[in-house]
């Protein structure tokens, strides 16, 4: 079972919840897919056992073979390749690495070059198989790295937890894609609600069932709960707005270290999710 943890709004507690779920279970595969700001390692504290540079394909052109058909430029949806007669100009920073130009080039003038997009790491923390990746500084696109990290594990534990990037744009969609369930972590504030609505809409479009964890419960107002009721989204867990949790978080302690009794709630959350899936 693949459980994604996403939010819409940043800073609602995705990593806090995802790491606590993993630690409460003890046995799982954990992927930190927030490759622009990976921080789950701080709480899970894995021993890093391996490291690999991730690359995407970018075209390399042999102009001596070019027949000036300009098909490469026509097929590129990202305007990353310009064909001017047999002079072909490539803009690697715009290239998404789809490989269409290489495929369509009749005379085989385009071959696969590579651009480094980041570094993937993996390791273990007890029964947790841990994976994360860090986007190369100045690399504008994170989805290819998210995809690469999701393809990295050679074996998977029964439960897989995906700590997803914030927002509802390509990185988040790439991260949640293929999940059996998505936990949306929100806070009961107008900002939390605004982005929860967008995230819930995105998941509905993708056909991924979802439920809500309200973090910092007691803060703000009741509109998140009202929204969940209207939309038929189950509020599966509430984490109280407790200064103790924030203080310990700031010093690098996870939720289960500051509130050990939360372990039961996290196990119950996973049971609810697997129950929802079976139903």
């Amino acid at each position: 079972m693949r459980i994604a943890v996403a939010s819409g709004k940043g800073g609602t507690g995705k990593t806090t919840v995802a790491a606590a779920m993993a630690q409460a279970l003890g046995e799982c595969t954990f992927l930190d897919l927030d490759v622009e700001a990976p921080n789950a390692y701080i709480f899970i504290k894995p021993e890093i056992l391996g490291r690999e540079t991730a690359r995407i394909m970018t075209p390399e052109v042999d102009e001596s073979k070019c027949i000036a058909c300009a098909e490469c430029s026509r097929v590129c949806r990202f305007n990353a390749i310009a064909a001017l007669g047999t002079v072909v100009v490539v803009f690697p920073e715009l290239c998404h690495g789809c490989g269409a130009c290489e495929m369509i080039c009749e005379p085989g003038a385009i071959s696969a070059g590579f651009r480094e997009i980041g570094v993937m790491e993996w390791g273990k923390a007890g029964g947790i198989d841990f994976y994360n990746a860090r986007l190369r500084v100045s690399e504008p696109m994170s989805p290819p790295l998210i995809r690469a990290l999701k393809e990295k594990p050679e074996s998977w534990k029964e439960t897989v937890i995906l700590d997803c990037p914030p927002g509802t744009t390509c990185p988040m969609l790439e991260a949640v894609r293929g999940s059996d369930f998505c936990v949306l972590v929100t806070e009961p504030t107008p900002f939390g609600l605004h982005d929860l609505e967008m995230a819930a809409d995105a998941l509905a479009e993708l056909g991924i069932p979802s439920g809500v964890v309200v973090n910092r419960a007691g803060l703000g107002d009741a509109r998140v709960h009202e929204f969940c009721r209207e939309r038929g989204l189950e509020v599966m867990l509430e984490i109280p707005n407790d200064r103790r949790i924030a203080e310990l978080y700031a010093s690098g302690s996870g939720l289960l270290e500051s509130v050990p009794e939360m372990a039961d709630s996290m196990k119950k959350l996973v049971r609810k999710i697997s129950g929802r899936r079976a139903a």
């Binding site: 990353a80 310009a82 715009l94």
Partner: protein, 119 residues
Amino acid sequence: MKVCITSQGRDLSAQLDPRFGRAAAFIIVDTDGGDFQVVDNKQNLQAAQGAGIQAAQTVAGTGVKVVITGHCGPKAYRTLAAAGVKIYSGASGTVAEALEAFKAGKLSDTGGPDVEGHW
């Protein structure tokens, strides 16, 4: 010699469009005969990225030797330069006025992009 002037409209009396990649249209003028044709750039106005690259490719495909515009960014410049097209930026007024300024030698070859991308 064929030159291209970025334009907000479809004839010589239209205002020059200061943008290159997202110009409304390109007016291609033959400086010898004075005939002109209009090349649309509508498809690029909504491009998510690389409008300058696409526009440069369109313009280069018409066989012009010179582009007269307001500003030209780095990717458009690189593409035009690869096609051997010279860029005269800093032009303003109507398309006809820009053309006269070019003919009178009042505009000069920019020799590089004069703005950042996405200006």
